[in-house]
């Protein structure tokens, strides 16, 4: 089936998304939230492959870019968490209308998973969610980017030191953080998240020493239908040339079982 790229509204912003109709009669729609910049570009290929697997299983897919990221409108530094949560809601509502599906599975990777989790908790109509290497909190995400910024490339090249300019902008790996945006990241956390009891959830982790296993522990302590799977696999948000087949298989098999 041909892909259907489009721009759609999320509040004042125009977001880019792609519909991928299922290859056989549809059971539900999967809405895929990509990672935040600068990890977004590395995850694109793996999420496209994930979408292809899901459409083969009879699941409609809608992938979209958050405001200020990818093909969507706006600059990253001018966004806030409210906008990004509005984006997930707008994508879910649009996908449900387009495919006339009641059942929605929400998938996200890294900060995309964090935003997907927050959205699941705030609305009661998500059937299942897949959180792939979720980031426990926004402060961890910013710290991760600082680490990337301060690590030499394989060629031994280092970016200029991180500093805050006279306009109060702190640039980290090309992302221009304002003070309010840094504060918004600092306030964003899954630590106190109460998961809706009827929404099934799978957490997929690749890094044993990251914050994602902590998210899995927090969810495991709640009385919900929950699976945690750890897969040692290339980290696509860092190494975009790899396709993590084992991760994609684990996710698509779990999603199929939930229908």
């Amino acid at each position: 089936m041909p892909l259907e790229p489009l721009f759609f509204k999320s509040g004042e912003r125009s977001l880019f998304g792609i519909f991928e109709p299922a290859q056989r009669p549809c059971k539900c729609v999967a809405v895929i939230c990509n990672a935040f910049e600068p990890e977004h570009v590395g995850c694109h290929r793996a999420l496209k492959k994930l979408g292809e697997r899901l459409t083969r299983l009879g699941i409609d897919v809608f992938r979209f870019d958050f405001a200020g990221m990818g093909d969507s409108s706006g600059d990253f530094g001018r966004m806030d968490m409210t906008q990004w949560q509005t984006d997930v809601n707008a994508a879910v509502d649009l996908a449900r209308r387009r495919f006339r599906c009641r059942k929605v599975v929400l998938l996200g990777v890294r900060m995309g998973a964090t935003m997907a989790a927050l959205t699941c908790a705030s609305r009661g109509d998500i059937h299942a969610a897949v959180l792939w290497e979720p980031v426990l909190d926004g402060a961890t995400f910013v710290d991760d980017q600082r680490t990337v910024h301060n690590t030499p490339t394989p060629d031994g090249i280092l970016l200029p030191p991180i500093k805050t300019d006279t306009d109060g902008i702190t640039e980290i790996v090309g992302l221009r953080f304002t003070d309010p945006l840094l504060a918004a990241f600092a306030e964003t956390s899954l630590a106190d998240l109460v998961w809706p009891p009827h929404t099934k959830v799978q957490v997929v982790t690749n890094m044993a020493d990251a914050s994602s296993p902590r998210v899995a522990e927090l969810l495991a302590a709640q009385d919900i239908d929950f699976e945690h799977i750890h897969v040692k696999s290339p980290l696509v948000w860092i190494d975009h040339e790899q396709v993590p087949g084992a991760v994609l298989q684990a996710i698509s098999e779990w999603v199929q079982k939930q229908l």
């Binding site: 041909p2 489009l6 721009f7 910049e37 570009v41 694109h44 090249i157 200029p160 221009r176 975009h240």
Partner: protein, 286 residues
């Protein structure tokens, strides 16, 4: 750029006879410059590394350039090609489809092809077949992934050896199993490759530059000072860079403190300034 002040609009674009390639066209309010087409940077999709293609497209559209960012077959959101054509032909064919899509959307019939890394090389390949191309912009060109060539050039990247050999952390990684041994081996192997082995590829590149220059097409080559693409260029030009620049059709620029992927916003803006200066100079001349 604020949504309230933008003077462009963006639309998704399905390209090719089977609409199998996907792109985004950024349209200015008034088209008064040649259309720009950006080709994939390596395997990355049309937004480019650090979203730089998106930013460049929007900034250029504010100045009157329509800009198409699209995914070649098998990259980004585009389907894998069923074509049996060789690489060069396929890149040319798909770029010609992209040009046709832009002409249909906004009437532009003059084009600037551009790209980063492999996208730069693909821009050169496609431009050499297309007389409608009035400009080629090549950022950090890294040529086709020929093992011999890559090993040859990277082995002779002295800045790399200097950075690595004098960094204690690198030695620690080497001795504790954390180094990229495959890459190190490939670079060492390059010392045993003779220059003759890479001259065929270089001759082809030089021939393409010559075609463009004779045709009156302007070329902007931008290298990051820290990047290995400078070394690629030295090999590829076969000592003819000065001759090409003397024609007035080739401009070579360098950006200091800039990595291969134009990560910092300063380097992205510096590139844009170079592009605008070069493009204005080309238009004045023509």
């Amino acid at each position: 750029m604020n949504a309230a002040t933008t003077t462009y609009n963006e639309q998704p674009c399905l390209i090719g006879p089977e609409q199998s390639l996907i792109g985004v066209l950024t349209m200015p309010e008034t088209v008064n410059k040649p259309a720009v087409i950006l080709l994939n940077a390596g395997m990355l999709h049309r937004v480019g590394p650090n979203r730089c293609y998106v930013k460049w497209a929007r900034w250029l559209a504010e100045l009157g350039y329509p800009v198409l960012r699209f995914d070649s077959s098998g990259l980004g959101d585009s389907s894998i090609s069923q074509s049996t054509a060789d690489y060069d032909e396929r890149i040319h064919e798909e770029t010609a489809w992209a040009m046709a899509a832009v002409t249909k959307a906004c009437g532009s019939d003059r084009f600037i092809l551009g790209g980063l890394c492999l996208g730069a090389v693909n821009a050169l390949l496609a431009a050499s077949h297309e007389p409608q191309v009035c400009g080629v912009v090549m950022q950090n060109p890294q040529f086709l992934d020929e093992d011999e060539l890559t090993s040859y050039v990277e082995a002779r990247n002295w800045r790399y050896w200097r950075r690595v050999l004098f960094t204690p952390e690198r030695w620690k990684q080497f001795f504790f199993g954390q180094a990229d041994y495959k890459m190190i081996l490939s670079r060492l192997r390059g010392f045993f490759i003779r220059k003759d082995a890479v001259n065929d590829i270089a001759d082809d590149i030089v021939a393409r530059f010559s075609v463009l220059i004779e045709r009156g097409t302007s070329i902007l080559l931008v290298n990051s000072a820290l990047d290995v693409s400078r070394d690629y260029l030295d090999v590829m030009m076969r000592d003819r860079a000065a001759e090409f620049q003397a024609t007035g059709r080739m401009t070579i620029e360098e950006i200091t403190d800039c990595d291969h992927l134009f990560t910092t916003s300063d380097s992205q803006k510096l590139f844009l300034d170079m592009f605008i200066r070069w493009s204005d100079a080309c238009r004045t001349e023509s």
